[in-house]
Assembly symmetry: C2
Homo-oligomer: 200 residues x 2
């Protein structure tokens, strides 16, 4: 079937949100950890973490409009730091639960464990198998709808060496990475193939 722009605009809010959010397909579930100037820890699930560049090493994510209170955004502005923590099969339900509106830290609410290094003023998720510490280097407002592309420079990567293959590629089968489509459907992943650099 063909769903036109007109059809989309006429849909009710919830089915439209579900449909449009699911269009990009599978995305990694990641937890972003931050801390406020007052020392309150924040943890939030994001499906928009992306590669921006390898040299210098940059990663980004899409921040929703900050018209309502957004702990993650506010904390990054205060400290300049955030962590990205890969979600795996043993913690994805706790990771999802961070999206609830708690009055307390999401670490306390979900039972995930904060851990720190001397490099980054933000909490890592101890249980995560791939932890990345970043410093904010730029934010790009997406003027058409008020979202923001946040970009950080990687300061450190914490993972077990066994998760890397001989080419330094993380093996998601070994980390038990969990993907998410839209806002609520979670998927396991299983390796199909490594395809070599394509030539004509």
């Amino acid at each position: 079937m063909v769903i036109s722009l007109d059809d989309i605009l006429k849909m009710e809010k919830q089915p439209r949100t579900n449909l449009i959010n699911s269009l990009p397909g599978i995305r990694q579930a990641n937890l972003i950890g931050t801390i406020s100037e007052a020392g309150i820890l924040n943890l939030a699930i994001f499906n928009s973490v992306m590669h921006i560049g390898a040299h210098p090493p940059y990663m980004g994510f899409i921040q929703r409009p900050v018209s309502v209170e957004r702990g993650t955004y506010q904390n990054i502005k205060e400290t300049g730091c955030f962590t990205i923590n890969q979600v795996h099969q043993k913690i994805y339900k706790q990771a999802h639960q961070t999206s609830a509106r708690y009055q307390i830290s999401e670490f306390d609410a979900t039972g995930l464990t904060p851990t720190f290094t001397n490099t980054i003023a933000a909490p890592y998720v101890e249980e995560s198998h791939v932890k990345i510490g970043l410093k904010l280097v730029a934010e790009y407002p997406i003027a058409i709808n008020g979202t923001i592309l946040m970009v950080g420079e990687i300061q450190e990567i914490i993972l077990d060496q066994n998760y890397l293959n001989e080419n330094h590629i993380i093996q998601l089968n070994n980390t038990n990475a969990v993907g998410v489509n839209g806002l609520e459907t979670y998927y396991a992943v299983s390796k199909l193939a490594e395809l070599p650099y394509a030539k004509p």
Copy 2:
């Protein structure tokens, strides 16, 4: 182990590219279809397609620096249109092959089939199970490294109704969606759970 920024900067190019590209985790493999003013069809695989907003319905992707010839970018600038086509298990090897530097159209080179509608001046991939037609609405230069966030407004979605559940969420088990991590490692996905809207 801890890999510091200094370690990353000292790595050789290929392992660094592999490591940094694999950090965001699983991402949907999508094919972006375009046509030049001269009528030459282009097809290219991207792992950076993202959700930008549901109302109005926007999707984006990261365009690498256009200092060298970039067919996709040039064609979108010429026509204002592009298509996003979900990659599945029967076409992921052909999809990967579009990244080779061909002198002919990637459709001809890979055997994937172009198809058109009256709405979008760009080719869809006939074999894809989820086809999305978009018009360019904005491009945001990411000044720190020359990449560009391209944003399009969805004009139409073409898919079999059976791929949607009762809540209008695409079921990636049914579309046989294929994810990719970094530039070369492909993964199948299998549903773990649908988790309800989280409440404290």
